[in-house]
């Protein structure tokens, strides 16, 4: 778990989301579960209770409910910047699934890896970044040319 060995990124937002209008970055949510097995019990309960309310409250998210034969149920979240996140919800309660879905809808699609600095600016310097001639006198830029008297006399 070294800093060079594990991926890291800088703090950023997706297209300055939130400066103007806030757009929910989650675009698609697919609930994959099985109709009969016991490990999808929580998912089935959530589909009975909370899925419709969640879909109504978040009109920008498309929710797909896919009952199929699968060994473990999972939730597939797709974001606007293309990242796909799969979360297994094996043997989770309906409440836990509700909180997980809330967390997924609050995330943007940026990867959950180490953030190098907790701050970011596009304009770090207001007065102009330091360079070696900032504190030197501007007379260094002046070059004096002296007319030679012999040339004057000859012309």
């Amino acid at each position: 778990m070294t800093s060079r060995g594990t991926p890291s990124r800088f703090l950023k937002s997706v297209l300055q989301n939130g400066v103007g209008r806030y757009v929910c970055q989650l675009k698609r949510l697919s609930l994959v579960f099985s109709k009969d097995s016991a490990n999808s019990l929580g998912v089935r309960e959530f589909i009975e209770d909370g899925v419709v309310d969640f879909a109504r409250q978040n009109p920008g998210i498309v929710v797909y409910v896919a009952p199929e034969k699968c060994s473990i149920p999972k939730i597939v979240a797709e974001y606007l910047n293309g990242t796909v996140k799969e979360e297994p919800v094996n043997r989770k309660t309906s409440e836990e699934i509700r909180q997980l879905i809330k967390k997924l809808s609050d995330q943007s699609g940026l990867e959950v890896i180490r953030i190098r600095k907790p701050f970011h600016t596009d304009s770090p310097s207001i007065q102009g970044q330091w360079h070696p001639f900032v504190n030197r006198s501007p007379s260094l830029r002046v070059q004096r040319f002296v007319k030679e008297k012999s040339e004057l006399e000859s012309s």
């Binding site: 778990m1 800093s3 770090p124 330091w130």
Partner: protein, 149 residues
């Protein structure tokens, strides 16, 4: 002839050796030489890398502080002062900027840093006047201490 006991000699060793090895090798992929491929060498290198990373967390704080100090020292010398004088006099003027912020100002805000350096210089001169001059001299304006409520 029928070989019946041949099949009994085949053993199934542990089925997940591959994944146990990959868990270690994935941390060694950016290493140089055979230790990024061979498990026996990688185990030692990965362990050392983790130990170095653990120790470096404390050292990083020290290293960053010395970096900030050297940057502030260079910037103050451009303005004709020295680092200890700057820090002590800024402290006496109740300017509670830490070394990180001072080094960032020196890089991105050179004029602000120049004004801080001149403030410290003036406070230093006032300190000398108080120490060396006679007691009848009034204290300079930068030597006044503001008491927060």
């Amino acid at each position: 002839m029928v070989f019946l006991s041949l099949s009994r000699w085949i053993r199934s060793r542990g089925p997940d050796r591959y994944w146990r090895v990959q868990e270690v090798l994935k941390h060694a992929r950016h290493f140089r030489g055979r230790k990024n491929r061979c498990f026996r060498l990688a185990v030692r290198s990965v362990r050392r890398a983790f130990v170095f990373a653990t120790k470096a967390r404390k050292a990083k704080k020290r290293i960053m502080r010395t970096l900030w100090i050297s940057r502030i020292a260079a910037a103050t010398r451009e303005h004709g002062m020295k680092y200890p004088a700057l820090i002590h006099n800024l402290l006496k003027c109740q300017v509670a900027l830490n070394r990180k912020v001072l080094s960032d100002l020196a890089i991105t805000e050179p004029r602000t840093f120049k004004s801080l350096a001149s403030l410290a210089k003036r406070r230093r001169e006032e300190g000398f006047l108080v120490a060396l001059g006679d007691k009848g001299e009034p204290e300079g304006i930068f030597s006044r201490i503001v008491h927060s409520q």
